[in-house]
Amino acid sequence: VSAVAMADWFRVYQLYTDYAALLDEQRLDEWLGLFTDDCLYRVVSRENEQAGLPLALMRCEGLPGLKDRVHAIQEVSVYAPRTMRHLVSGLRVSPGEQPGTLRAQASFAVLQSLETDHTTVFAAGSYTDVLRDDGDRLSFATKTCVHDGSLVVNSMVYPL
C-alpha cells in the first residue's frame, strides 16, 4: 500500500518511464533533464551497500558530474555499439523526509543487445531514490542504483 495518493504514484511512474525510455533511446541530453542541479547519482554494488562501503561504480555529483559522464559516453569512450533495455517494476512511493520530496523504490532489469550477439541480461537491481516535487515537475534529487550481481558483464557503459 503506497502512502501517497494514486495521482502522485502515477506522476512518479511517468518519471521512471521517461527515465528508462530516454536512456534506452540514448537521448542522454534529455535524460539529464530528469535530475535536480545538485543531484547525487550513484551506481553501487549490493556487496558494498550491504557492507557499508562507500565506493560506487559510477558516482556523479550534481548536473556537472552527470554531464561529464554523458559527454564521455557520447564523445570520448571507446566501446562497441549496443542497445540497452530497462524494465522497471515494483514501484513504491512514500512521503519524503523533507517537505516537497518523495521517496521512491523500484526494481530494474537491464538487457543488453550487442550487434553481433543475442540479447543477454546485463544487470538487475533496485532503485532507492529521493524525488523533488515542484508541483508541476518531479526530478531525481538522489538516485542510487544498486547492482545485485557480483560481477559486471565486462563493461558498464550506460547508467543503470
Binding site: S45, L55, L57, C60, V78, A80, V152, V153, N154
Partner: protein
C-alpha cells in the same frame, strides 16, 4: 627473429614462432590446454599470488574468499592472529564449502556432511565418526590429522597478503627484487589501510591480455582520450618503465603533464583539446607521496596489478576462469588516517577506473575485441616491436619492452 626456437619436446607440441619475444603466438591466449598448463606452472608455480589485504580480516575468525589462479581459496585470521590460506575445497567430497564472500566464524563447516575444520584447515570433527548405535562410522584407521584442508604457503608484507600453491617459494623480497619492492613499499609503507569498496567484473579475454594492458604504456597514450586530453597520461610527459631482473614484474611510472596540443598530440587521432570537465572536483589531485610521480601502475606476477593513479589506490586481482575469460576483482583502499576530504577525493577519482570507468571502459571493450580477433586464428602471431626488441628498462612510454620482458619470462616458466 623468424628462426624457430630450439626445443626437442616443447610442451603441448607447440613451438614459439620466433627466437626472441618480438612475436607472441595467438594460441597462448586461446588454447585451453595452454590455460591448464598455466594453472600448474604459473599459478601453481613458486610465485606469490595476491589474495587479500590484512585490513579485510582484522579480527580472529574473519575470513574472505579469494583465488589463486582458478583455484578458490579462503583467507582467514586464526584465533592466534595468524593468517591462513586454505583451498575452498572440503577434504571429504571436494565441495567449495565456503558459501559467503566474507564473514566471521569459529570453524569452517562443510554444509554437505558437516565436517568441521579450524581456521588453519585442520579437521577437528565429523558427525557419526563412531557410527550410530553400532552401525557405520569411520574405520579405526581413519586419522583426523590426515584429512585437513589443503593449506597454502602464506606471506604478508605491510598489510598485503600473498599465498602460493608451491611448497617452498622464494621469499617475497627475493621474488620482487629491490626495484619492485621500492614501488610496492611506496604505497604499502606500513600505514594501516582502509578498504573503500570492491568492484568486480568478468572480462571476455585471456588473463595475459588483462595483465599486459598494464605493461603497455603505448596504448594508454593513444586509446584513452580522457587521460590524454586532460593531460593525465601523455607520451610527452616524464615517464619510465621499470622492471625486475627477470621481467616478470614491471612498474609504469609517469608524472602529470600539460594540456593542449603540440607535435605529439597531432598523431593522436581522437585527441580533444577542448575536453573540459563540468565537474572539476572529479580530478582535483592531492600530492600524497614523497616523489613527483602521479601514476604508478605496478604489475606483480602472476595475478596482481597495484594501481596508484593520482589518488585512486586499488588492487586489481585476476582470477582466470578459462583461456578466454578472466574475472577481475578490484579492492579500492585508502589509509586509516585519511581525512574525509581525501576519502572523498579517492571516491570521486574512482570514476575513471573499474568496470564503469571513464577510462577503464576503453580497456574492457578493446580486450574483448582483442580476444575475438586472436581466437579467429590461433596460429597467427602478434608483433611486439615498439621501442625496439629490448627487454630492459626504458625512460619513456613509447615502448612495449615490459610486454616483451614478461614473455621472455613466460617462455622460461612454461618451457617454450
Amino acid at each position: 627473429m623468424t628462426e624457430q626456437a630450439v626445443s626437442t619436446h616443447p610442451p603441448l607440441g607447440r613451438v614459439w614462432p620466433s627466437a626472441d619475444v618480438s612475436r607472441i603466438p595467438n594460441w597462448v591466449y586461446t588454447d585451453e590446454d595452454v590455460f591448464r598448463l598455466e594453472q600448474e606452472r604459473v599459478f601453481g608455480g613458486p610465485f606469490w599470488s595476491y589474495v587479500a589485504l590484512s585490513a579485510e580480516v582484522p579480527q580472529p575468525g574473519d575470513f574472505v574468499r579469494a583465488s589463486v589462479g582458478n583455484h578458490p581459496v579462503v583467507v582467514a585470521r586464526t584465533r592466534s592472529g595468524e593468517i591462513s590460506v586454505v583451498s575452498n575445497r572440503c577434504a571429504h567430497r571436494g565441495l567449495a564449502f565456503c558459501m559467503q564472500q566474507t564473514g566471521n566464524t569459529k570453524t569452517f563447516v562443510c554444509p554437505y556432511h558437516q565436517w568441521s575444520f579450524d581456521l588453519a584447515g585442520k579437521l577437528i570433527g565429523l558427525p557419526f565418526k563412531r557410527g550410530v548405535r553400532g552401525n557405520g562410522g569411520m574405520p579405526g584407521s581413519f586419522e583426523l590429522g590426515e584429512h585437513g584442508l589443503n593449506a597454502l604457503a602464506v606471506t604478508e608484507r605491510n598489510g598485503v597478503i600473498f599465498a602460493s600453491l608451491a611448497k617452498d617459494p622464494p621469499s617475497l623480497a627475493d621474488s620482487f627484487g629491490a626495484p619492485m619492492l621500492r614501488y610496492f613499499d611506496r604505497v604499502f609503507d606500513g600505514r594501516e589501510l582502509r578498504v573503500l569498496g570492491y568492484q568486480r567484473q568478468r572480462i571476455p579475454a585471456n588473463w595475459k591480455l588483462v595483465f599486459e594492458n598494464i605493461k603497455d604504456p603505448y596504448h594508454a597514450s593513444l586509446l584513452h582520450v580522457f587521460l590524454v586530453s586532460l593531460g593525465l597520461f601523455r607520451a610527452d610527459q616524464p615517464s619510465k618503465v621499470v622492471m625486475d631482473s627477470t621481467g616478470q614484474h614491471a612498474a609504469l611510472v609517469s608524472q602529470r603533464g600539460q594540456r593542449g596540443s603540440n607535435d605529439v598530440t597531432k598523431e593522436i587521432r581522437q585527441f580533444d583539446e577542448r575536453l573540459e570537465l563540468h565537474d572539476p572536483n572529479l580530478l582535483r589531485p592531492a600530492k600524497e607521496f614523497p616523489d613527483d610521480d602521479t601514476v604508478v601502475m605496478h604489475t606483480l606476477w602472476p595475478n596482481l596489478m597495484v594501481q596508484a593513479q593520482t589518488n585512486t589506490l586499488a588492487m586489481r586481482a585476476m582470477a582466470p576462469r578459462s583461456a578466454g575469460v578472466t574475472d577481475l576483482h578490484w579492492t579500492y583502499f585508502g589509509y586509516a588516517d585519511d581525512d574525509e576530504e581525501m576519502t572523498l577525493r579517492r571516491l570521486r577519482q574512482a570514476n575513471l577506473q573499474g568496470p564503469a570507468g571513464l577510462v577503464g571502459i576503453d580497456d574492457w571493450e578493446v580486450l574483448a575485441y582483442n580476444q575475438a580477433g586472436l581466437a579467429s586464428d590461433p596460429d597467427a602471431a602478434g608483433v611486439v616491436e615498439m621501442g625496439g626488441l629490448g627487454v630492459g628498462d626504458e625512460d619513456h612510454m613509447v615502448t612495449e619492452a615490459a610486454i616483451r620482458a614478461m614473455y621472455a619470462y613466460y617462455r622460461e616458466v612454461m618451457g617454450w
